[in-house]
Structure formats: C-alpha cells, structure tokens
C-alpha cells in the first residue's frame, strides 16, 4: 500500500464515499452516472472520487468523451489484509496479557 492505512480508513469513513465505492465495485461509472444514482450533486461526487483516487481506491478510465471510474480490487484486498493484521495483533497482545495475569 502506497498510502498509510489510516488515510485509507479516513477516505472510507464517509457513507457517501462508501456508497460510491460499492457501486464502482459492481461496475465502472462516470461521475454523472453516479450523480443520478445518489442523492448528491455531481460536484460533490467529483470531490469524493478525488478523495478515493488519492488513496488509490479508485482509478479513472477515459472512455470516449467521458471519464469512468472503477474500484481497484487489489487495493481493497490489501485493506482487508491490513484489518486482519490489526485483529491478529490484538490476539497476540491479549495472549500475552493472559500469560501475565495468570502468573499472579
């Protein structure tokens, strides 16, 4: 991942962006098409797309006269892996806390 995990989480910490990403995960869409599907202005959609693109979650695909966007699958798999790591870290820490508490 070329951006830090928190920045990716921050980019996703917004329901509209989450909606956009979910839709782009199903199929490539332009900002205008997204604006007709979501109760948000095209300008707002463009801002959200820029935020998602900045952390590498979506990419722009020129298609004729319009620009479509698609979700980057590898990026999301990587994110799922990182989340797993966070949980695994706590499993390890809790196991160590258990060892410490049980020797009292």
């Amino acid at each position: 991942m070329n951006q830090s995990l928190p920045q990716v989480f921050a980019a996703l910490g917004d329901e509209t962006r989450w909606d956009i990403l979910t839709r782009l995960g199903a199929r490539e869409l332009s900002a205008s098409a997204l604006a007709t599907e979501l109760p948000v202005s095209r300008q707002a959609i463009a801002k959200h797309l820029a935020a998602l693109a900045e952390v590498g979650l979506v990419e722009a695909i020129p298609s004729g006269r319009e620009i479509r966007y698609r979700a980057i699958g590898a990026r999301l798999s990587g994110l799922a892996t990182e989340l797993d790591r966070l949980g695994t870290q706590w499993d390890s820490r809790l196991a160590r806390i258990k060892t410490i508490a049980e020797r009292f």
Binding site: A51, W90, I97
Partner: protein
C-alpha cells in the same frame, strides 16, 4: 470479487477491531496487567510510562520505532480502562492522529473475560498535507511480525 471484499470489510464509518480472551485469573490481576507500566511493557512496547488517572499521559517506547504517546480516557477499576493512542511518534494523541483502545473486564467461569475494542480509524485526517507520516501501515506490519516471532519463542 470486489463486492465480496467490500462486504467482508463492512462499513468503514463503523470500523472497529474487537477481540476477546478468557483469562484464568481474578479481575484484579488482569487489571494490573493492563494498567501497571512495568507489566504493560511486557505486552505492548519495550518500555512504558503511565500516569494512571483520567487525562494522565503515558508513553510506550519501541527501540526500533520510537515513542508513542497516549492519554488515559477512562478508569473504572476493575471494569474498564481506555486510552487514546497516537499513531505518530512523539505526537500528542488527539482526534485525527490516534485510535481509542478500550478494555472491558467481566467475570466469566471463575476467571475473567477481557475484551478489547479499538476504534477511531475513521477520524484520521484524510489529507496527506496534514503532515501525517506514511509509515503507520509499515510499522503495524513490522510490529505484528515481531509479536508473532516473540510468541513463537515463548511457545518453543
């Protein structure tokens, strides 16, 4: 595939990491393990300092990654303990650069059930220009490897 990944992640705006362990010890022993600096340094960091009061400051140090500051947010002995932990070295933890870690202790089968909940990822500043270091994911990964290594040593 992408849709499956999204579903496995759930909604980020409610992102948290939670884990539970059963400990064959009284709650007071578990309380000591998670709040006494000399014991904290056995499971979290190489060194730990802590002013155990709400608003009290603490520092966890890793020889390899530096010092990370935290601040106590809740003390309810022996039921709950929470602290906010900066994910940048030598930075005071505030919303936007830190996560909140909350431990809850319950009696369970003559021992203690310890639950940890880490939240606040979604509060991180999304703008790279805020000066957030980009190595967080890196050191998280490295730390994970270290813990796995140490655990292997322990069980060997």
């Amino acid at each position: 595939m992408i849709v499956a990944d999204l579903q496995s992640l759930g909604c980020m705006s409610e992102l948290n990491v939670t884990r539970t362990v059963h400990i064959n010890a009284h709650r007071s022993a578990v309380w000591a393990a998670i709040t006494e600096p000399e014991l904290i340094s056995e499971w979290f960091g190489d060194t730990a300092e802590l002013d155990l009061r709400v608003g009290g400051a603490g520092v966890m140090g890793w020889s390899e990654w530096g010092n990370f500051r935290f601040v106590v947010e809740e003390i309810d002995e022996p039921n709950a303990f929470a602290f906010r932990w900066a994910r940048d070295t030598d930075a005071d933890p505030v919303k936007g650069n830190s996560t909140l870690v909350r431990f809850v202790l319950d009696d369970q089968d003559g021992g203690t059930r310890l639950t940890v909940l880490e939240t606040g990822w979604e509060e991180f500043e999304g703008d790279v220009a805020t000066g957030m270091k980009e190595n967080s994911a890196g050191w998280i990964a490295e730390l994970d490897e270290l813990v796995a290594f140490l655990d292997k040593q322990d069980s060997a």
